[in-house]
Symmetry: C2
Subunit: 212 residues, 2 copies
């Protein structure tokens, strides 16, 4: 009884407005897309005045940064889950790519914010290449295993970058209408993704070509 009133009337202090704002931003992205993501809209969605966010973020930029950060974490988790299904190391690469692209398809607006911010900064999120448990490093380690110990680090790194670029490109383009006939011919979207990813560098491949 005594708690009923408390549940009804929102307290003046929110408790964890910072997180609530980031969540609200994510909801707006899912619902209305990146162009609707204004500071005011986020505050509105969180049920708070337009000035409130300034107690938690220096400016709009910093809020977007936090949103993107959450996105990168989620993308990393989605990719790390693939590891569980202990298949052979060859198909693992393709499955990582599929996981990457599927994430971008599930959260297209969030993915766009993530990359827009990266391009504005000309930088991937900090630490992505270094943190041992990052998705990027998982890809690199997978290449390492496939390649064997005699392959130079440079080549592993280049292959990792190439794979990451391909996944990003496919993430942005996989929905294009031009691919629909092919997608249907192959029996659905995932089959299409696997098809594309497994044809990376198909015919131009010249064996492992070390950097001189």
């Amino acid at each position: 009884m005594s708690t009923a009133a408390v549940a009804d009337t929102r307290p003046y202090h929110h408790g964890d407005l910072r997180r609530a704002l980031v969540d609200a931003a994510a909801r707006i992205l899912e619902r209305e897309g990146p162009s609707a993501l204004s500071l005011r809209a986020v505050a509105r969605e969180a049920g708070v005045s337009p000035a409130a966010p300034y107690h938690h973020f220096k400016d709009k930029n910093e809020l977007l940064e936090a949103v993107a950060h959450v996105g990168w974490e989620a993308l990393g988790e989605a990719m790390l889950e693939v590891r569980q299904n202990g298949t052979d190391v060859q198909t693992l690469m393709t499955e990582l790519g599929v996981a990457y692209v599927c994430f971008s398809q599930r959260h297209p607006a969030l993915y766009r914010v993530m990359y827009d911010r990266s391009r504005d900064k000309d930088s991937l999120p900090e630490g992505m290449q270094d943190k041992e448990d990052s998705a990027y490093c998982l890809v690199r380690e997978t290449f390492r295993k496939v390649a064997g110990p005699e392959v130079a680090d440079v080549d592993i790194e280049l292959a990792t970058i190439a794979a990451w670029c391909a996944a990003h490109g496919l993430a942005e383009m996989s929905g294009f209408a031009q691919f629909n006939p092919l997608r249907e011919a192959l029996g659905g979207d995932e089959a299409f993704l696997r098809g594309v990813l497994s044809h990376l560098g198909s015919f131009g491949y010249r064996g492992h070509e070390p950097v001189k």
Copy 2:
């Protein structure tokens, strides 16, 4: 003498304002980036009132469409130039990729507008896959030559899409700061691009793998 006055005073009617507006838009993109590209800014840059563009474009959307169209044409031309240097068909693929990425580096803001519009429409520019002389078809034909006649059309198409995705991904990511050490180690940006492009699918490669 009689023409001096004409040269000084701009005539009331512009002559080719449509083209002038698209040019102005391109200039703004080079100078200030995509976020500065408003209809009003374009009109200002072209030296014309904010209402003038409406005699040539239905709305802002249609103007951006025209800007993107010019961009795609230019990208196509840049790639078709590669054909001239009649090298072997293997390195041709890499060089096409380099041409693609270099274009995006020379015109980053324009490139961004091009792809932003494509994603909004979920579609590459119309006819890109069909027009015989398009860059996309050049890539496909190149794959065809490398692969030989016994390879199925589906596999050629998938390989083309994969290559295009990789080029797009690299175009958007090549400037990232994380890659600077590697870029310098390889001796410059073009070497870096060639390195990445030539490592596409390196170790995951399982030979040409036909779609069942």
